[in-house]
């Protein structure tokens, strides 16, 4: 199953709609709650990032029988040094992002913790693509 979302930039109130929808679908598929939580947290962190650091973008979530693959693509400012950005505590978040409870520099590290595979591609001035893969039945593989 493929789900597509257009995420608007600057929408600090409604950010997270896509993650919420994907979570609902996964619940209907009766996937283990702990696995759903891994996907939800990683995707939500990435969705919030594309709203607070870029100006929105597009999300494609692919739900396969044994894994979920989420691609989040934005055309924002990009990340100069991904290794540095991954470090817990590194953040360039704006005041507005901090007012909504974000901007501690924890998101990328948290995505890495919860995703089975995390891929980040970024070009300064062009944008960022984050890909999250989570296995639905990790004990079998």
């Amino acid at each position: 199953m493929n789900l597509h979302f257009d995420v608007e930039g600057g929408e600090f109130i409604s950010a997270g709609v896509a993650s919420s929808k994907v979570k609902k679908v996964l619940k209907q598929l009766a996937i283990q709650p702990e696995i759903i939580r891994k996907i939800s947290v990683a995707m939500y962190e990435a969705e919030i990032n594309m709203v607070i650091h870029a100006h929105g973008g597009v999300i494609d979530a692919e739900i396969m029988p044994d894994y979920v693959h989420v691609i989040l693509k934005d055309e924002g400012p990009g990340i100069e040094n991904i290794e540095l950005a991954m470090k817990a505590g590194y953040s360039t978040a704006s005041r507005l992002a901090r007012e909504m409870g974000f901007g501690a520099g924890m998101g990328l590290a948290n995505m890495k913790r919860y995703a089975d595979i995390l891929q980040i591609e970024s070009e300064p001035g062009k944008g960022t693509t984050v890909e999250i893969t989570v296995k639905l039945y990790p004990e079998q593989s």
Binding site: Y44, M100, F102, M106, A109
Partner: protein, 122 residues
């Protein structure tokens, strides 16, 4: 700890999810920073926070958090309350500060969720 007990201890008002009070939580976690909540919460907790942004509800939704106590007498907007009701999330408000509210619950036997990993060694 049962939610009615939390309500009594904190002298709290239930402003969303009134029909979902008959449940228990295993731990407590207090934080105004949703980044931290997302990074550290793994269990069935009550979240105590002074933040009243709608993203508090989204954060709770992603982590399957069923109950939120808003401290310092802050009043959330109707959008936040509506979002909580739609997700069967219980919202209570208390006049106590984050420190006092946490202390009262702790004194009555609710322990905190321990930090399971050290962010800085990551």
């Amino acid at each position: 700890m049962h939610l009615t007990q939390i309500k009594d201890i904190l002298d709290a008002q239930v402003i969303a999810g009134k029909g979902d009070m008959d449940q228990e939580v295993d731990f407590g976690y207090g934080c105004d920073l949703m980044s931290d909540v997302l990074a550290y919460v793994q269990n069935n907790i009550v979240l105590l926070t002074g933040l009243v942004h709608p993203q508090v509800i989204r954060t709770a939704e992603m982590l399957d958090i069923k109950v939120i106590v808003i401290v310092r007498g802050k009043v959330p907007g109707s959008d936040l309350i509506e979002m909580a009701n739609r997700r069967d999330i219980v919202i209570m408000t208390t006049k106590h500060s984050l420190f006092t509210a946490s202390g009262l619950l702790f004194k009555n036997g609710l322990i905190g969720e321990e930090i399971a990993h050290n962010e800085l060694t990551f």
